[in-house]
Symmetry: C2
């Protein structure tokens, strides 16, 4: 991560040219970076001169409601400006890349809100967080496809000539079963079904009860609805992965189904945009981000997703962003 920890004064770096704010708003965490407005295009992500970086909680309005989401966004921007020894008057541009922005009306409402926070001549951009995630893997060039699988999941693609398409990103009610939330909800359901006689026994029961410090599957119902945060459910993903690695068949099935869901999401976007060319064999970048797709696990979700997609599109070029605004999932 670039930064000005010692010696340089952030205020001096921001100077008269002012600053820009970049916000990556996710369903688990929200990150705001403050950069000098006068900045040549960096040669690598590590070379980006970050003045300050602040972190807050969920800013997906569909998960926590609009007012909480906007409060979180305002708070994280204020904190970044304070850390950079500057204030709102220095802001020349803000890019909000926020999960839960799904429709032009969401975008419009957020543009009006951000405009009211920074009166003056600043420029504002509002996008789904998938746009920032794609840019983080392609050094800013908006071309290719990105798959995010953190608490939520979405695939988002852009063609060379600017056509865009997306799939999933619709939240837990609307079938994002490959997301961290989806994986964990399926695991909790499997425990309930094993308990009431509808499903096979699974080591998920003991593993999840231990993690949640509950004594019986009956208590899972109360635990689940005590707090509607999606991230709290998604935080159970490592338990599912670990049960699967230990050979539990139910956990393995959940992960395999989720891999297929995630692959299907990418395949739908790539096909609609013809990112793979007419013969479906052209090369295209596929950026992978989010806690579910992080590596270093024996059960390699990310690798399995690539395998599924590559069977359909052999030109898939996977990219795990070197440095990303994204913060690590809570698992």
């Amino acid at each position: 991560m670039g930064g000005y920890e010692n010696g340089d004064s952030p205020a001096a770096v921001a100077g008269e040219d002012g600053v820009v704010l970049g916000v990556d708003g996710g369903t688990t965490n929200t990150v705001c970076v403050c950069l000098p407005a006068a900045m040549p295009p960096p040669e690598s992500p590590a070379a980006v001169p970050i003045l300050a970086r602040a972190v807050a909680g969920c800013s997906n309005r569909n998960s926590v409601g609009e007012s909480t989401a906007l409060e979180t966004l305002e708070q994280v921007m204020t904190q970044a400006l304070t850390m950079a020894n500057t204030d709102r008057s220095a802001v020349r541009a803000v890019c909000l890349a926020v999960s839960g922005v799904n429709h032009p009306s969401d975008q419009q409402r957020m543009l009006e809100w951000i405009g009211s926070l920074f009166p003056g001549n600043a420029k504002f951009y509002v996008e789904n967080d998938a746009v920032a995630a794609l840019a983080s893997g392609t050094m800013g060039k908006l071309h290719g496809c990105v798959l995010i699988a953190g608490t939520g999941s979405i695939a988002y693609g852009v063609t060379e000539d600017g056509k865009v398409a997306r799939a999933a990103g619709a939240g837990p009610v609307l079938g994002d079963w490959g997301s961290g939330y989806g994986i964990a909800a399926q695991a909790l359901t499997a425990v309930i079904k094993a308990h009431d006689g509808r499903g096979p026994q699974t080591s998920l029961t003991g593993d999840i009860l231990e993690k949640l410090e509950l004594s019986s599957p009956d208590e899972i119902i109360g635990w689940t609805y005590a707090d509607p945060s999606w991230a709290r459910i998604a935080a159970l993903v490592p338990v599912v992965v670990s049960s699967a690695e230990d050979g539990d068949e139910v956990a393995n099935k959940i992960l395999h189904d989720s891999v297929q869901e995630l692959a299907d999401t990418v395949i739908a976007v790539v096909r609609r945009l013809r990112l793979c060319g007419e013969d479906e064999k052209d090369k295209f970048p596929l950026v992978l981000v989010g806690g579910v797709l992080e590596g270093n696990k024996k059960w390699d979700i990310s690798g399995e997703v690539i395998k599924c997609i590559s069977k359909v599109f052999p030109g898939t070029v996977p990219i795990w962003p070197e440095v990303c605004m994204f913060v690590t999932m809570p698992f």
Copy 2:
């Protein structure tokens, strides 16, 4: 519905013996009836001398939160007492049969709450609403199995010697896919998938957009999360049934899958309690209640569920309660 609409004075009927309150708390509606405490066992449901009957909204704490649920319960009981020209001092017993009561700790907390509302010597009973539903079909005898499929779904069974078992009733996060909520959520998901290229085209798209007065599937995401009420989603069930009746394959698959889920729920309970005897051929009553299982549709969900269950347990005796505290679903 029995009652004292003219002539008799409810206060005179309640007399010095006081009244009892019966509350059926569902995820869509909550009904409270006020009865005279001194009452011989009725010969038929229609002969129950109901002094008053009040209706309020959802009292499932898992759907609307504990404080809203308790407010609704208090409100509906107060209204029933007012309608019966009496007050809390006349109450000798209260039976709360409320969805969302899943664990002894839920029961204990609610017993303490109801005790604080009616100080004195009144008796209190707190159960899951499935218990009231079973009794409504068996003239009060707690024996057999009940399947509720309204906004939520649950199967609950009791043996002659008082053993109980339940399955499902765990809410939308935990896989109640046969419930009204589950059916509607699957339909909304199918529309999203058809729109983003992950699923087949379906007439559900046009039918649901028309019903919700939306112009594009993108808008469904915002609509879904704008209000977390489960009943609001479940109210789309008639659209799914109607699309299926018109031959839509996606809608038909959703209904067939839900029939299987509901049948599996009953089968799990009946098998655990051996309600079907050792050879799985004994007769047992199966009470069916809730909007999803109401008849008079071309696509007969209730009939299909019975067909599935009867293949496994030929002794299944289906009962649709003649008079039930339950109110009709919003569809």
